[in-house]
Amino acid sequence: MYVAVKGGEKAILNSHKLIAETRRGNSERPEITIEQIADQLGLSVDRVMAEGSLYDRGLAALAVKQAQGDLVEAIFLLRAYRTTLPRFAMSEPIDTAKMLVQRRVSAAYKDIPGGQVLGPTYDYTHRLLDFALAAEGGVGMPEAPVADEALDDGMPHVADLLDYEDLIEPDLPDPDQPEAFDLTREPMSCPAERDQRLQNLARGDEGFVLALAYSTQRGYGGNHPFAGEIRMGEVAVEIVPEELGFAIDIGDMVVTECHMINQFEGSADRPPQFTRGYGLTYGHNERKAMAMALVDRALRAREFGEVAKYPAQDEEFVLYHADNVEAAGFVSHLKLPHYVDFQAELSLIRQLRAEYEDRQQKDAAQ
Amino acid sequence: MTPSASNDLLPGFADPVFDAQSAFRATLDAMSYPGRVQTVPTSLATPEPLGIAAGSLALALFDFDTPVWLEPVLAEGPAAGYLRFHCGCPVVSGMGEARFALVNAASLPRLDNFGIGEDRYPDRSATLVIAVPSLTDGPGTRWTGPGIDGSIGVQIAGLPDDFWAQWADNRELYPQGIDVIFTCGKSLVGLPRTINVEA
């Protein structure tokens, strides 16, 4: 008679089957492959790797496929997998000055040493739907021309050029803190240092970080940013194995980096100087890197003695709400049964209404 | 079970997953029901003078995130290498930095050498694992506090004369303070900072 447990299990299993069927879509069409997703939906894969905190195109593509293209769900899948992986080593800091640049632009100067490199970007495409992409057989294999000369090897960071004149704050590692904070091993702790904030923003939801960045531009923040430089390309990742004592190259990864240059009026003990905002993401994602750099600078208000009065400057507000795996989970948990507490509230509201009516009647009688 | 005099490293848990779990459960019961003697069900060959309960607790709880202070006899003997190898824990020279300390009742440093945590983070304090000659044959004391239904009589042997006076001082720091786990062979008794002791 009482078989609800089995019923619940059956319902869950059936729901798994149904989602698998829905994911597959029309079975008369070929199933999409992981390679196709990694190649042709590369920017989705980049976002999933960045917010999933795991640089692996194949796994990120699998997550995109499994999540039916729902990127927040794909990010969650990748994070849950990531926690089961052992930690082998801490990498050396990547050197983006040695990046194999595919794209590099500065809005602060007309020309820069190493040159402006437009590279692959949607920036100057006209946003007209390209029906050729929808045509039977697709577009074949478009080819981009190869440049006559190779790019310069040395591409200094634009922000560092200002360093020669002492016009921008120096950006030096903190000698008291040789190891960076790691949010994947320690809980958030406020007030947070910049390393913790940057890691949080790098993992943070692109939409949330973008909206915060936008708010600083519209008036909910007092920064005056210039896109000092945005660069994207491959960098080498190195580790120093304990037993070797020197760095070895373990592979390359594509990253997008943004240096924002912001005005700073100076204070009693600091001369007027440009200040930095920094953004870095896995893969190619300039929107996220730029937004991150704007929010990074906004969150440095305390450091520069600025009054923190806007949402993007509010460290606890930003850091505690940026993670979409946490946010999506907590919003969606409202789907779980809450009927015990709802029952308690039902009784209360009935009681409060009865008391209210009593008072009304008494008042009317008087 | 007799450790050899050579430098041969003794093995850790026979089953790292289940032995760690059972050692933790014995410790959880010890801290949850203070004063009651619990036993670790594992057999473990530990280097002298590290006891089985203390060694099991170390293997179950220590790692590279837990700075450990060892009393000189342990620090200079094979136990230090054993713990470094099996736990990967940093062995520190300052008592104040330690999250755990392995000590012996006969040579117990004063309790106020150890970290008591911070007012907002009282959890960042030391846990002292104190080896004693007996958990049941010492002078009678009466314990009260969370985990104890009414009160319980406890007879820990071999502690310094002023130990319970020091413990009373530690109680005064609540919610900061150190926590203690007494060990003897395969057995252990928990004494969390909340416990009031009448000596």
Binding site: M1, Y2, V3, A4, V5, G7, G8, E9, A11, I12, F76, R79, A80, T84, P86, T184, R185, E186, P187, S189, P191, E316, Y320, V325, G329, F330, S332, H333, L336, P337, H338, V340, D341, Q343, A344, E345, L346, E355 | F18, Q21, R25, L28, D29, M31, S32, Y33, L61, F62, D63, D119, R120, P122, D123, T127, P146, G147, D149, P175, R193, T194
Partner: protein, 306 residues
């Protein structure tokens, strides 16, 4: 140990899913939580294969405590048959291969969301609560840096003011669940969203009570036999919910009752939220006004739609 070799689990994962380093970190956290009753210990909570808000904290605590000989019970809203309870139980069957039960008495570990079982717990049992928001002051003060200070200095005036405002407005305290408690006379603690009906069960309970908040990355605890006082005022003492009705199925008058809607004309009945308690009573011959009514039984323990 023979029992050890008897358990079988999905060997793609470590026993109980978590890696040993994570378990050690959580175990150390639990021991400090026991030593400082009611104090929220921060821990490096991990992403789990279920969503934040769906029991990740409770699952991490259970996974760190559970051994091959343990028997596990999982309830949500007091019931063993709610979907999330079923899902979490299946998770542990798969990754730990442990025995599971619906019988409160037979369980070594009980993971719960929103209820404390009606049957009294015993020594050695571990009750693991899933906690969405561990901070009892959060709705009054959103900043963690501020609330941590308040706990540090035991400054809980804000909460008393909040409760007193209720009295001024309604004549009584209008909090029905997540009703704040003082633990061991020192820390203000959220009991998790259990109805205040369950608050008195927390005090002097022989079992170990552990609370896991995965998203907020906090673990806290109430050791056995510990003072747990629901906040109140001398002239407005703490009171739990009562019902005029008894359980329609088993006739219980002392259990927490859920309202079940029977039709769209206001028809309803009340049944025990603790399914194990209700069944046990019916098996022992107790019956309520609708205890023999097949329609009522079907309503009370309806299978989820497939």
């Amino acid at each position: 140990m023979s029992a050890v070799s008897a358990v079988q689990w999905d060997e793609a994962y470590n026993f109980a899913y978590l890696d040993e380093q994570t378990k050690r970190m959580i175990r150390r956290t639990i021991l400090k939580a026991i030593a400082i009753p009611g104090y929220q210990v921060p821990f490096g909570g991990r992403e789990m294969p279920l969503a934040y808000g769906w029991g990740t904290g409770g699952v991490q605590v259970t996974a760190s405590v559970i051994g091959p000989d343990d028997t596990l019970k999982v309830i949500d809203q007091g019931a063993d048959d709610t979907t999330n309870a079923v899902s979490i139980r299946r998770f542990f069957e798969r990754v730990a291969g442990v025995e599971t039960t619906e019988t409160t008495e037979d369980a070594d570990i009980i993971q719960t969301r929103h209820r404390i079982p009606e049957f009294p717990l015993r020594e050695g049992q571990v009750l693991v609560y899933q906690v969405p928001q561990p901070e009892p002051l959060r709705k009054l003060e959103p900043r963690e840096t501020e609330t941590r200070k308040m706990h540090g200095y035991a400054e809980y005036g804000l909460m008393s003011v909040r409760l007193y405002e209720d009295i001024a407005r309604y004549g009584h305290i209008a909090t029905t669940y997540s009703y704040p408690v003082m633990v061991n006379g020192r820390y203000l603690m959220s009991p998790s969203p259990i109805p205040k009906f369950d608050n008195p069960k927390m005090e002097n309970n022989p079992a170990i009570q552990l609370f896991g908040a995965g998203r907020e990355k906090r673990i806290y605890a109430i050791p056995p036999y510990t003072q747990v006082k629901s906040l109140d005022f001398d002239d407005h003492p703490f009171k739990v919910q009562t019902w005029k009705e008894c359980c329609a199925l088993c006739g219980a008058k002392s259990s927490y009752l859920d309202e079940v809607i029977l039709d769209d004309r206001g028809g309803r009945m009340f049944v025990c939220s603790d399914t194990n308690f209700c069944e046990d009573r019916r098996a022992k011959g107790h019956t309520g006004p609708l205890g023999a009514d097949p329609a009522a039984l079907a309503f009370a323990h309806k299978e989820p739609a497939q």
